[in-house]
Subunit: 306 residues, 2 copies
DNA sequence: GACAATCTGAAAAATTCCTTTCACATTTTG
DNA sequence: CAAAATGTGAAAGGAATTTTTCAGATTGTC
């Protein structure tokens, strides 16, 4: 008996946009999010109840209760897993430092992240970004704007018209006049969701701009307007949530884009890299102000390691 | 919140014979047997539906669905267990996309990171930062400056005189006149190590400023001048290295600092958070069945979006 | 630009599920 | 051994959920 997760991740499965949203929610908190009512799941995914039922049927079930039954039996199986018995013991294990424990938690979160987003999502986003005829804008909240900045740095190597909007101010909204159907807005919004970011993204969406959203499992309100939502399950034992998985996600996206570049663009990236290698420190340190120490490995002209 | 199992095992609870049968079934396969319908559970226990409902009420719930909701959130908590995540990870390991493989690699890198830095290092850095009488400056390279920005955002919540130096330009070096023995400079430098960052940090060190360096395993030349170096082992199969572990490290540092705050500072942070909560979006999470994590805190008087 | 095909949500309809009621059985108490 | 109290299931009633239908919207195609 194949498990539902496998069904959901099946490449051959052709899903409508609304259905994909449901799948994403389902995977983001699998399988718990499918154990409530169909209506509940629909609400979280921002679609109608009917669509949830249709998805269940499409996956080969009699209806939603049928799918749920299967989900339930999986839960049962997993709760009986021998691993779980070990877990209780592990809890009072070695006393780690605060920082170590934190890093552990982050690592686990990234593992969860892997299961939380269908693999073709990155591909889809990569295509949207590279195919956009207009501009690609990036916004983020108090902390996540730094991630927007990083992604913007990467993207501007691959295409032109990348605009890092930075900290939102009243004037920032003027930028919106330039946004329309040909443009793409990449928004980062993790809790506490920020009103200004939400307003900005919503207005862009209203103007026909495709919105790509990076958010956590509780979903920013922007998800309503987003064409694609990339979810990061955050539950780290800290007053502040971790953004490391989000960074990993944008880097994964970059890796995806890199893999799909045509030759011309790849050459562009390579020549950019060559310029950088020239300006960076070299092993023999001829131009290195105050250090004669061993530096990084010298690389000539290739981008392979950077 | 007491878990249902505890309620069921409560000695003070006086149960009728039929009720005991239900409890037995429930505990025998806890909590899965309670996740179906009330009628289903009744059948398994060999009692009527009505008796199941009465038990739920007797236990202090509104009705059966109420009990089930609680059960569901317990399941979710258990399914989030790290060990089970590992298991799930192995499961769908077969066909991975580029993005998935990348995330895997990042996760492993973070695991390595844990061993790469002695546990007291974070503590030491935390003390240096919080004890500095002068200013705390942050610099970084092309991409790592975003990490500097994030850390700067965190730090300015804990102390004053935090200066995010941002992109280095010729003028940036003027800032150095203000740096001396009472100050701290936090530098981020991952390969390709940037000459400007190296020069800046070196000169600050020459002026007596304590330099804290975040770098990769090949060590930026700044390491020579740094008082403390925090290393991140980077070897991800991508033309670009990952910065996610670096983000995790600064967050771990923040966690360390948070743990060592005195009451006055902690109150400062809390009131900052309160202000934010007020300005953040409010969501209605009341009927969210499958999440044990609270969503954003509800605050009155704010509108949800603009 | 028009047509067909598909997608989607709102609302109605059908079904399932939960709860209450009530009559009967069982146990407890005087 | 009554008589009261409690426990129980069947069935009816009510509530909630799932499913279907239908019309509007969108997308893709010629």
């Amino acid at each position: 008996m194949t498990d539902v997760r496998t069904l959901l991740l099946d490449q051959k499965l052709v899903l409508t946009p609304s259905e994909e949203r449901i799948v994403q929610i389902l995977l983001a908190d699998y399988p718990a999010s499918g154990l409530g009512t169909a209506g509940n799941l629909a609400k979280k995914a921002g679609v109608s109840d009917a669509t949830v039922v249709r998805l269940a049927v499409k996956l080969g079930f009699e209806g939603f209760p049928d799918l749920q039954k299967r989900l339930l039996s999986e839960v049962e199986a997993r709760l009986h897993s021998p691993l779980l018995m070990m877990e209780a013991k592990r809890h009072d294990g070695a006393v780690q430092g605060i920082a170590e424990a934190y890093l552990h938690a982050v690592s686990e979160t990234i593992d969860k992240t892997i299961g939380a987003t269908p693999s073709n999502t990155y591909d889809k986003v990569a295509k949207i970004i590279m195919a956009a005829k207009g501009r690609v804008g990036l916004v983020g909240g108090r902390f996540s704007r730094h991630i927007a900045g990083m992604l913007s740095g990467y993207l501007s190597q691959f295409r032109s018209n990348v605009q890092d909007i930075g900290t939102l101010s009243a004037q920032s909204f003027d930028i919106l006049v330039d946004y329309g159907k040909r443009d793409v807005l990449i928004a980062f919004d993790y809790r506490r969701y920020q009103n200004d970011v939400i307003a900005f993204a919503s207005q862009a969406a209203d103007r026909g701009t495709s919105v790509i959203l990076f958010t956590d499992q509780w979903l920013s309100p922007i998800a309503e307007h987003a064409e694609v939502t990339i979810i990061c399950p955050l539950d780290v034992p800290s007053p502040y949530d971790t953004l490391a998985p989000a960074v990993a996600q944008i880097e994964a996206l970059v890796a995806q884009i890199l893999a799909s570049l045509d030759d011309a663009t790849r050459r562009r990236v390579e020549s950019l890299e060559a310029v950088r290698a020239y300006n960076a420190v070299t092993l023999d340190g001829a131009d290195n102000v105050s250090s004669t120490q061993p530096g990084p490995k010298r690389t000539k002209g290739t981008t392979s390691d950077a």
